[in-house]
């Protein structure tokens, strides 16, 4: 369906201003883009994992959510939404409620790739009609920049520091989006906050899907990535253009690139803008950038094959 920016801007944001997230934070952009795609005149229930987002948007007695919101713990946002969605079906079946209601999880990469992985897998396997959104900033930012399963090779974090015997994180990130797709759920997508039209379209599809869906959206953290706050969108755009974060979707098992990259930029262009990678440009860490580039190339080739692009 046609997406008109002139129409979207007239809609009420479901996340109000005045929350305590940092300037330049990718999380609130992700939340607003996704929730704006929810069907009109519907009710929304959000389950938030413990995260920067949860602790900055619902600080008692204040609250930035114009929809219902529940935070329980770190690793159980998917299980919590499973309960809410099931309660909805149970009460609707009995005629106690009838409002169209949509269920959404917002969790960071730590709450998704690592500690919340089991609950997420359970939610996807059971097929709850809920959209799980991982707002991915590639580390535990709420506790002060620690490495997660989403952190890329060579990244400096406070638990993968560089030093005489370390060049930053020694391992590649896991491929959470593909893992979600391996659950054979009807809709999975990888998105980035720089491409609002793409994100909006993906969220619309997810909301219209009768089953479990997942969007893994890159949402940079200027504090943790060490770049000037006004560069959030520019850096996300570069992540896609260098193919370290390609945008695609898996709809009923069909893989499709949603932002085609004509000329893949070298990963150096992305890395050099961010302080978390500055050590990689020193002679003692030579080779790590090449390793990362090789990993990105291999992953991207595989993605192109899956998407029928080669």
């Amino acid at each position: 369906m046609a997406i008109k920016l002139s129409e979207i801007v007239k809609k009420t944001d479901h996340l109000a201003g005045g929350h305590r997230l940092c300037p330049g934070c990718g999380a609130s952009i992700a939340v607003r883009q996704i929730l704006l795609a929810a069907p009109e005149n519907s009710h929304i229930v959000v389950s938030g994992a413990t995260s920067c987002l949860a602790v900055s948007t619902a600080i008692y007695p204040y609250n930035a959510w114009r929809v219902s919101f529940i935070h329980s713990a770190f690793e159980n946002a998917a299980a919590t939404i499973s309960g809410a969605e099931t309660a909805y079906r149970a009460l609707k079946k009995q005629g106690k409620i009838n409002k169209d209601t949509y269920f959404v999880v917002f969790a960071g990469d730590g709450g998704t790739y690592d500690i919340g992985f089991q609950a997420l897998s359970g939610m996807l396997e059971r097929g709850h009609r809920a959209l799980y959104v991982c707002y991915n900033n590639e580390a535990y930012m709420n506790t002060g920049i620690q490495r997660s399963g989403a952190t890329q090779l060579g990244t400096w974090t406070t638990t993968s520091p560089h030093g005489e015997k370390s060049s930053g994180k020694a391992e590649n990130r896991k491929d959470l989006t593909a893992i979600a797709a391996a659950h054979n759920i009807p809709y999975v997508a990888q998105a980035g906050i720089h491409n609002w039209r793409d994100t909006f379209t993906k969220a619309q599809k997810a909301f219209q899907t009768d089953g479990a869906t997942l969007i893994n959206i890159l949402a940079p953290c200027q504090r943790g990535w060490r770049y000037p706050m006004e560069k959030t969108i520019e850096i996300t755009k570069l992540a896609t253009e260098t193919c370290i974060w390609p945008l695609y979707e898996v709809e009923d098992g069909i893989w499709r690139l949603t932002q085609k990259i004509r000329n893949k930029k070298p990963i150096r262009e992305y890395l050099e803008l961010q302080g978390r990678f500055s050590h990689l440009f020193k002679p003692e860490n030579e080779g790590v950038i090449d390793q990362l580039q090789a990993f990105i190339d291999k992953q991207y080739e595989r993605l192109l094959e899956r998407c029928g692009e080669k």
Binding site: I59, S68, A73, T86, K93, T101, Q118, A119
Partner: protein, 388 residues
């Protein structure tokens, strides 16, 4: 009209759940609780209830889903044992902190290590400070009765706390027992309907649950309010126990006393051991020992004043604990709390602790008699029936 049946304990619980017909049951299998969710799953499959089950991937998610469902206004029940309860530990506190009236059966089984599937109370005792009300059952009848009452207690407006109903693993859960079931209509009328204030599903009034207490500091006040709910619980438990007595002929209170009126020696126990203890009391009395039993039903909140008053006339108290605090010379948890209850008493009895039955070690009448015979002033804590 009541119906007399022969059921194993897990089926008695499932039968209570059928009569309650909860909206949502998230559950995960674990021995010896599994039979409850198996029987209940069949009830769902047969259309005997309207319940939506969630076959979660862990107990942690069972309690998390219970929270999501309960905050959405559903009546929610679940069941677990042992390691399952331990895995829920983090989320138990969130359920009570959010004041969600979830009802859970815990089929008591010991905690690893070593791994052992048999009964002791180390699982539920680990949750005794989690803000849940805890009721213990002597037999299948009490487990069934407690489950029905637990719904009313949890949802009572002055309480609003989750309730855990305990039943000894295998001893009750897997043994056939004779019990009376109240009819479906009476059960339905007794439990009534549930309406949650501030449901997540209220589209006219979106709500926020589990906010961050970051800048202004309301945590202490929230906990103080929660403590008030627990303080209100005894009155509600008593009133609901009396009301249940009127429809079933089986009234309930904080504890049951057996031959305590003229007793000089009181035995205290939780759960299935109470049946064996009644037999031991009879034998002791036949030998001229004025023994009696106080069987604790309500362990959380702890009926401290009432317990001290009920035992004010005895010279000796033998507290039988089916778990240990593993805290040096302190003894078992029931012992610690019983002793504390007598701190302000005018006359303090001699109180001794017998830790028994860990990992399912059998407790028989002879062992109880042996314990009673061993009571002396300088022997605070004894491990009963252990191979030293």
């Amino acid at each position: 009209m009541q119906r007399t049946v022969a059921l194993v304990g897990t089926d008695a619980v499932a039968e209570a759940m059928r009569q309650i017909n909860p909206d949502v049951v998230p559950a995960y299998p674990i021995t010896p609780q599994t039979s409850i969710v198996e029987t209940f799953s069949q009830m769902v499959a047969d259309g005997a209830v309207n319940t939506e089950m969630i076959n979660v991937e862990s107990e942690h998610s069972a309690m998390s889903a219970a929270i999501g469902a309960a905050a959405s206004g559903a009546r929610v029940m679940t069941a677990t044992s042992s390691q399952g309860l331990a895995l829920m530990w983090e989320i138990l506190y969130i359920a009570s902190g959010l004041r969600l009236p979830i009802v859970m059966t815990n089929v008591n089984r010991t905690l690893s290590s070593p791994v052992n599937i048999h009964c002791d109370h180390s699982d539920s005792m680990g949750a005794r400070d989690s803000g849940w009300i805890q009721l213990y059952s002597e037999n299948a009848q009490e487990a069934y009765d407690n489950i029905l009452q637990a719904i009313r207690i949890a949802e009572h407006k002055d309480v609003l706390l989750p309730v855990m109903v305990m039943m000894d693993g295998f001893i009750i859960s897997h043994s056939i027992d004779r019990l009376d079931l109240i009819d479906d209509e009476a059960a339905g009328k007794f439990i009534g309907t549930h309406k949650l204030e501030n449901s997540l599903l209220d589209d006219q009034n979106p709500t926020s649950w589990g906010s961050f207490d970051g800048l202004h500091g309301y945590y202490f006040e929230v906990k103080r309010a929660q403590a008030e709910g627990m303080k209100n619980a005894p009155a509600a438990i008593k009133q609901i126990g009396e009301e249940y007595g009127r429809i079933s002929g089986r009234p309930y209170s904080f504890f049951e006393t057996y031959k305590m009126d003229d007793a000089d020696l009181a035995l205290i126990a939780l759960g299935s051991a109470a049946g064996t203890m009644k037999a031991a009391v009879d034998e002791l009395r036949a030998k001229g020992v004025r023994a009696g039993l106080l069987k604790l039903r309500m362990y959380r909140p702890f009926p401290s004043k009432e317990l001290a008053a009920a035992l004010s006339h005895v010279s000796t108290v033998a507290v039988f604990d089916r778990s240990d605090t593993l805290a040096g010379e302190l003894g078992g948890p029931v012992f610690v709390e019983t002793r504390s209850s007598f701190y302000d008493a005018e006359k303090r009895p001699l109180i001794q602790n017998f830790i028994y039955g860990l990992g399912g070690r059998d407790l028989n009448v002879d062992l109880i008699l042996q314990a009673v015979a061993s009571i002396k002033s300088n022997n605070l804590v004894t491990y009963l029936g252990v191979r030293e």
